[in-house]
């Protein structure tokens, strides 16, 4: 046998051995999963958290739960984020959605459609979590055991005045930085305290070493960080749209005000917002809009950038690979007297726009809603959430569950103002809907190009801005009307069942009426705005 053939033979043999080993492993796993008495109830849950350690943390929590409930089998479906939405759509269409589904979207159209596929869990949220018996949270309504009272933009749908999900963890958005590099550049570990000082640091970074970047930028990071930065920088102005005196402004309030002529892209706070966006982007890697988060992460890890805007969900990964000390700072905001960027923030500001994370929804297709809720009860109990948090290295979502000492610097700061609505707060970059998001995002390069800038970006946006808001609002209201129509029938039917169903119907009717009046009021504004 000549050497070439021998090499080929060895390669094919290795491939065959690998294939057979994999096959054997899968068969053994399948057998192990199906051996023993068939459980009476199977609870399936799906998520896309494939970060290191997450699947193991879920498995550990599920195993502990199954030890308490031998009649239940809990199955995990970890689906890659890139295909998660398509996978979920397929499952919904096929009627095979897992009982519990992790879902998150900043697209208002998606949010409006949540009640079509997921059930309200309000009635459970008002009852104590049975797994908290004997703890400090015994007898406390489930919703009040969460760090954010169970209400954030993903778990509580303000439009329906109902709870739909519970968050299993909590995160904060921070600018992570290389402490060693910061000390080398400035002689101190202390990060800048406000936006202007942060911009000044950028100049020092660039002067320190040619090619060194202040912020490792990427398209995703921009989309995560920029809306929060803008909302926080403009909170005082946004609050002027709180006509219903709730200390909470919704996207509907905000953009209806725009249609009524109360503001436009040239209104001073909006221009300040665009200047902040431009200045923030100017600190990032050139061409960051074309880069993905992995390349930003690699640049930070290699010491090619001083900092990286990111969520704490990636901290365990960063910590494991970094060869330097990692620090973190909150988004730097303009001071009130800053002539270019300041005057519209409400300080101090809360991290409260984030709330708890990794929301799990109860599928309407679930055959075992009570059992599925029981599993969620366990994962969000003091013991269960501690177990999950320690295993995953993500911060807990439950009051009184200790945060890993290493994560303490990242714990949410809720001691501050937050004025945007829980679910549908106005976000400049995300707009009122998909068309608004596309308008802002697809033209962002104009803001950052050498011959562009705030004026050029404003000119391009304002050509289509009003028409875009009208389109997005029309779509949003159409979906709301459809949801109302469907719920009307269901709530009326509940009136003719038992007393418990009647009580639930009455309770939900109140939110239905509030939604209906808001819908008609917004439709009136939309009609008046259309040519």
């Amino acid at each position: 046998m000549n050497p070439q053939r021998r090499t080929l033979f060895i390669a094919l043999s290795l491939l065959a051995i690998g294939y057979l080993a994999s096959l054997g492993y899968i068969i053994r796993q399948r057998r192990a999963a199906t051996q023993g008495p068939r459980p009476a109830v199977v609870i399936r849950f799906a998520h896309w958290q494939l970060e290191s350690g997450m699947r193991e943390a879920f498995d550990l929590t599920a195993r502990r739960y199954m030890a308490l409930h031998p009649e239940v089998r809990v199955e995990q479906y970890a689906i890659p984020g890139r295909v998660y939405r398509q996978w979920l759509s397929t499952q919904i269409a096929a009627g095979t959605v897992p009982d519990l589904v992790c879902f998150n979207s900043t697209d208002q159209t998606d949010v409006n459609q949540l009640p079509r596929n997921f059930s309200s869990i309000t009635r459970w949220m008002n009852e104590p979590n049975p797994y908290n018996a004997g703890t400090r949270l015994a007898g406390v309504p489930w919703r009040l055991t969460f760090l954010d009272g169970g209400r954030n933009r993903t778990t509580y749908l303000d439009q329906y005045r109902n709870y739909y999900a519970v968050g299993l963890a909590s995160h904060s958005m921070r600018i992570f930085y290389n402490r060693d590099l910061l000390r080398a550049i400035t002689g101190s570990d202390e990060p800048p305290r406000d936006f202007r000082a942060w911009l000044e640091l950028g100049k020092k970074v660039r002067a320190y070493r040619p090619g060194l970047v202040h912020v490792a930028g990427a398209h995703e990071n921009t989309i995560w960080v920029m809306p929060t930065l803008i909302n926080q920088s403009l909170a005082r102005w946004i609050l002027t749209g709180d006509h219903e005196q709730r200390f909470a402004v919704s996207a509907l309030d905000f953009f209806c005000d725009m249609l009524e002529g109360r503001w436009n892209l040239r209104t001073p706070p909006m221009q300040a917002a665009l200047r902040i966006m431009q200045a923030f982007g100017g600190e990032m890697t050139p061409g960051f809009l074309q880069l993905d988060r992995d390349s930003a992460m690699r640049a930070f890890m290699r010491g090619e950038a001083l900092s990286l805007p990111n969520g704490t969900w990636d901290y365990p990964t960063m910590r494991a690979t970094a060869k330097f000390r990692i620090g973190a700072l909150r988004l730097p905001l303009p001071t009130p007297d800053d002539p270019d960027y300041g005057g519209y923030a409400l300080l101090p500001v809360s991290d409260g726009g984030i709330g708890t994370a990794m929301p799990f929804y109860l599928s309407r297709q679930s055959q075992h809603p009570e059992a599925a809720i029981d599993f969620l009860h366990y994962v969000t109990s003091v013991d269960g959430n501690r177990l999950f948090s320690q295993a995953s290295h993500w911060m807990p979502s439950i009051i009184g569950v200790e945060i890993d000492p290493e994560l303490q610097p990242f714990r949410q700061n809720n001691h501050g103002y937050v004025v945007t609505d829980v679910q549908n707060g106005p976000q400049l970059l995300n707009g009122l809907g998909a068309d608004g998001t596309q308008l802002f995002e697809s033209n962002l390069h104009i803001l950052y190009s050498p011959d562009g800038g705030v004026e050029a970006y404003t000119r391009v946006l304002e050509r289509d801005f009003r028409a875009t808001v009208i389109r997005d609002l029309a779509k949003t209201l159409h979906i709301q009307r459809e949801n109302l129509r469907q719920r009307d029938t269901a709530l009326a039917a509940l009136q003719f069942l038992g007393p418990a169903e009647q009580a639930e119907s009455n309770r939900q009717q109140t939110s239905q009426h509030l939604n209906e009046i808001h819908l008609y009021l917004a439709e009136g504004k939309l009609a008046a705005a259309q040519p």
Partner: protein, 158 residues
Amino acid sequence: MAPDPRAAAAEYERLVATGADDAWCRLALIKLAILRLTVLRAPGPLPAQLAAVEPLLARTADIATQHDLHLVISEARMNHEIYDAITLGHLQAALASTAATDTTRADLLIQVARVATLLGNPALAREHYQLFLRDYPQERRAFTVGEALAHLGGAFPP
């Protein structure tokens, strides 16, 4: 099929006219109020248009229905930025019949306090801000409410 609010209102009126005060009539009463507060407003200036809905409150003895009527009337008034004693009255009436576990209660406590502040009644505002802080200490607006309480005598936000 395009929505026809006039036809809907006619059906609701027919139901309400029966005076049955059953589940259907109660539902019709609120839906009629919503239409009259929005797309089918009475003629005249805005305050008169909104005031024309008030008599519907007397058409039911059901507390839950009255609660929802107070709620939609106050929402419509505030959406039009009418922060007067009538609005405050509706908010208070709605709050009085709101269950402790109801998800609208936190909003109502803030709304009563803020409208009371605008009407120069800091004592009422204080009482409701304090209730909010007692019952919803973890709520995301707790800091804002605490600051509003601290600045009751002056401008807010400071």
